[in-house]
């Protein structure tokens, strides 16, 4: 006696016609989430490590200040002198009242330069800062 194999009569195919649509959606998500404009950093730096760190939620609010190993200072896109920070940051703060300044300072730096920058920021009234640091593993 032969057994007939039971098989459903329905088509055994995964409908793939809408796959491009799904991929398009994924693509759109990534296009929106990507921030392509990466800043060129002209200074060499290595961030310190810490445990009790927070995330900065709103990336649009951030201004960056880099301080490199050699003591060079870069504010957003340009290398600047310490005295210039006040003017630039004051203008920035007028545009963006709750600007956060992310300080990316090389871990071998001295506190003197850090303090000078902080004084400038205080004069410019841009007082929300964030000492950028990596999570200690």
């Amino acid at each position: 006696m032969t057994f007939k194999k039971k098989r459903a009569n329905a088509k055994q195919e995964i409908p793939t016609s809408s796959m491009p649509d799904i991929i398009f959606m994924l693509l759109l998500f990534f296009m929106v989430a990507t921030t392509l404009r990466e800043r060129d950093v002209y200074v060499k730096f290595k961030l310190p490590e810490a445990v009790a760190i927070q995330k900065i939620e709103n990336k649009r609010l951030i201004s960056y200040i880099w301080v490199g190993k050699s003591g060079k200072i870069q504010l957003n896109d340009n290398l600047v002198k310490i005295e210039d920070i006040q003017d630039i940051m004051y203008k920035k703060r007028v545009e963006l009242p709750n600007v956060i300044v992310s300080l990316r300072i090389d871990k071998e730096s001295n506190m003197g330069v850090v303090h000078d920058i902080q004084q400038e920021l205080r004069k410019a009234d841009a007082r929300r800062i964030n000492y950028s640091s990596m999570l200690k593993q």
Partner: protein, 179 residues
Amino acid sequence: MVQIKKKKEIEAKIPDAGMSDIVFLLLLFFLVSTTIDVDTGIGLSLPEYVPPEEQEFVPLSKDRLASLNINENGDVLLDGDIIAIPQINEKLRPRIESKINLSSKKKLVVSVKTDRRTNYNLYIQALDQIKFSYAEVQKAYALTAYGKKFEDLTPEENKVVTREKIPIIISIAEPEKIK
């Protein structure tokens, strides 16, 4: 009669079989080039700038103040005792805890003072320890007072914990001038 053959219209179709491949390629490009790196760091609010002539001296009782000094050699002084940086947490915690229920004018103030030549990394390590001990106390308080984790608190409860009960007051003193 010669029958004029009607020209058969060729069906116009754009081949779309390869579309998904193209879109896949685009997707891959964006997947690879995206950096979803979040900025992490230790947040702080600087005090308002007051010109030196207008600066006032506010007396602070010794009981409220935890003064942390770091010199250029990397020695750490907490209220006059030499300690190591990893010890800051355990020294500060009981002091923060003892002031949870006091009024806001009696909370602990941690003052961090450095030399101009102090290493930045050391300063961050010390600040990290202070932040860490505050975070631990806040977590413990959330658990005992509300019975839930600090992250699960409602915004109002979070405000009570971080503003009224355990506010983080860190004062960054001006470094001493070295000639």
